[in-house]
Symmetry: C2
Subunit: 453 residues, 2 copies
Amino acid sequence: MERVKPRTLSGFMELLPAQQVQMERVMQVLRETYALYGFYPLDTPLIEASEVLLAKGGGETEKQIYRFQKGDSDLSLRFDLTVPLARYVAQHYGELTFPFRRFQIGKVYRGERAQRGRFREFYQADIDVIGDGKLDIINEAEVPSIIYKTFTSLGLRRFKIRLNNRKVLNGFFAILGLTEKSGDVMRTIDKLEKIGADKVKAVLVDDFAVPGETADELLAFIQTPGGTAGILAALEGYKGKNEVFDQGADELKTVARYMAAFGVPDDHFEIDLTIARGLDYYTGTVYETAMLDHPEIGSICSGGRYDNLAEYYTDKQLPGVGISIGLTRLFYVLGEQGYLNGERNTAPADVLILPMTDDLAPAIELATGLRDAGLRTQLYGEQKKFKHKIGYADKLSVPYVIFLGEDEIAQGVYAVKDMATGEQVKASFDEAVSRIRAGLAAKHAGTVIVDKV
Amino acid sequence: MERVKPRTLSGFMELLPAQQVQMERVMQVLRETYALYGFYPLDTPLIEASEVLLAKGGGETEKQIYRFQKGDSDLSLRFDLTVPLARYVAQHYGELTFPFRRFQIGKVYRGERAQRGRFREFYQADIDVIGDGKLDIINEAEVPSIIYKTFTSLGLRRFKIRLNNRKVLNGFFAILGLTEKSGDVMRTIDKLEKIGADKVKAVLVDDFAVPGETADELLAFIQTPGGTAGILAALEGYKGKNEVFDQGADELKTVARYMAAFGVPDDHFEIDLTIARGLDYYTGTVYETAMLDHPEIGSICSGGRYDNLAEYYTDKQLPGVGISIGLTRLFYVLGEQGYLNGERNTAPADVLILPMTDDLAPAIELATGLRDAGLRTQLYGEQKKFKHKIGYADKLSVPYVIFLGEDEIAQGVYAVKDMATGEQVKASFDEAVSRIRAGLAAKHAGTVIVDKV
């Protein structure tokens, strides 16, 4: 028979079983954390009509999208979870209760140039709160606490959430007479960390005809020192010149004021006026999250406030705030940088039963009993040499093996071996279950990520 | 602005939030049950090279597939989880340990004619055990116990697992001199339940030139009465004529013998010689699962033993046994037939906090405390009338509301309202947490499915 070489496409992550167990743990922590904050789970189709998905149109998106014809239909794979959310909320508006809080963890598709650590199929993990007409600033203040809880639950410690407010920036642009260039100016200062202040000034002056002094003033403003307290104080000094600016300054103050009540320690967030976020649709607070020891990775969780989620689908005003984690890339980076907890067991089973008799009924009854007791159990039924059987438990890192031979059956006991210590004891069923349960608690202790502080 | 009508494609299921909560519960039960049996979770790309996915080629598959060009690449969306598993095992053969046990719950795509209850995007939930060269019959005996545990854990009670063995059928075909027509005969008798014995006979005789007497003999055989015990006894009577038949009869006997040890009650399985399964690649035990009160739905979980999973990708002999649940269709049918447990709370939060003061800090601290205590908590921060706020809790069915006004803050207590009973008490933080936890246990009791026996 002629054979096809088994392979995955370039840019498509596929994990080996033990890695997949770690990935599932990450996803489970995200699901549980989002649920703690009262978000509904949501699932939407991966395929949508191109007309729907590309309603906004334009730019990079359209070039990267997976778009194809099926029969008479022009279809596309989703490239993010925000557009499907906008479509969902507009479509089901009458059946939803607002503020509508949802999380979604799902695959999205972008035909980017393939390179190390960049993926064409990747998971995004998003949360959004959508208001009907209005949405209180308290929602913007709550978001950093969700970011904080998520990453600390995963085990990450050395990270910082950076906040800014688009109204402060746009208001300041207005004070400087740059309102007509605000989009270009915003996108330029967003590159500050990447290209440095000199180049930002050069682009502002050369490409967008911003006067040199104005550019200097802007750069000095966004680089205001003094951390959260210093910046908030400095903002007070600019007040009274522009209404949008004043509103933004008040919002930043409110968000910062509630951080402690939301459980976010001082050293895990800061106001940073250089944070701009490229996307046009943000209108209020914007967020980025940096790993302190790996700034080169860029933001691992970003988002912001927007005033009009679904304008391409409905005339309803639907403001919201949301954040997104690029989960596949994050998992890849955590693995590369040695953050994944290798100590935590990744076996698919807690116990492996090795029957030593021809009649398998006693071993099967034991497996059924252990499963009913909630222990993940495999029964090894292959006709192999003993060495091979025990090697199977070793390779999978199954923590406990139970041998069941004529002697044990006659005595009504089970020979339970702890594979890590090599210790083997004969135990009744109840003793075996307690022993294994107690041992597992230790083997499953610890977070998914280990951050060596 | 010109707007696009928000819509999903025909044949693509999308659930409202409360339904989605139920669907997530079903998936969680599946994940937990499969884990109890020692299966690894697995995730593979939704897109594969068409050459890889269609290596087997042929028939219905190729017509229904979502296939498209992206740049120079000929790509397809997966149409099941078995072909990607075959590719995965062949590709990663050297890095896997056998028997390799994996489950996968994922979306697959088939461009079927759209009709009520049929989906073009749907979840399959598969488990498979793959051996390297050999795989013991014990694995085939274990499968019904996984089906039984899965459906009973979901809450389904009135169902039956039907077993047969392809070797028994093929052996009997050989005894009747029908070996050369075995594929056609197999597919024809697979339609027995749908079209009846007379039509099966007509097809066998008219289309495949089976002599009338032979067809009668075959129909009599597969309809052997007497249930599991009667059929096993009858099979003994045919022994000695064909080696394959004898082997199949022994396998059926072994599988049936271990059912009790595996915890499957007598009334939940039966040997049924009419079960053929259309697919060519089954070679041993085959399974179907019927809902006793809704036979018209067809099998809700099917599968079987195969001898060569990945022959299109590798020369390794990889026998296996697996089953698949068409999850999206099953969920749809359960909903239609009123099986989903409407009593169980589907709120996204356990508690809603209604702050009654301008300073939100005390309410936020309470929310943080409740979340740290593991309670799913929402903080209602919108500026709305009281009636609207309490209406929000009602619409979402949030079971507990905590009011926090000046009085409560001054007294250091919380006004906790049970929304179901209307009962409201003032409680300390710890009392509030215990009270809510105790109440939730009852509100979350019960399975996802309620089978009115």
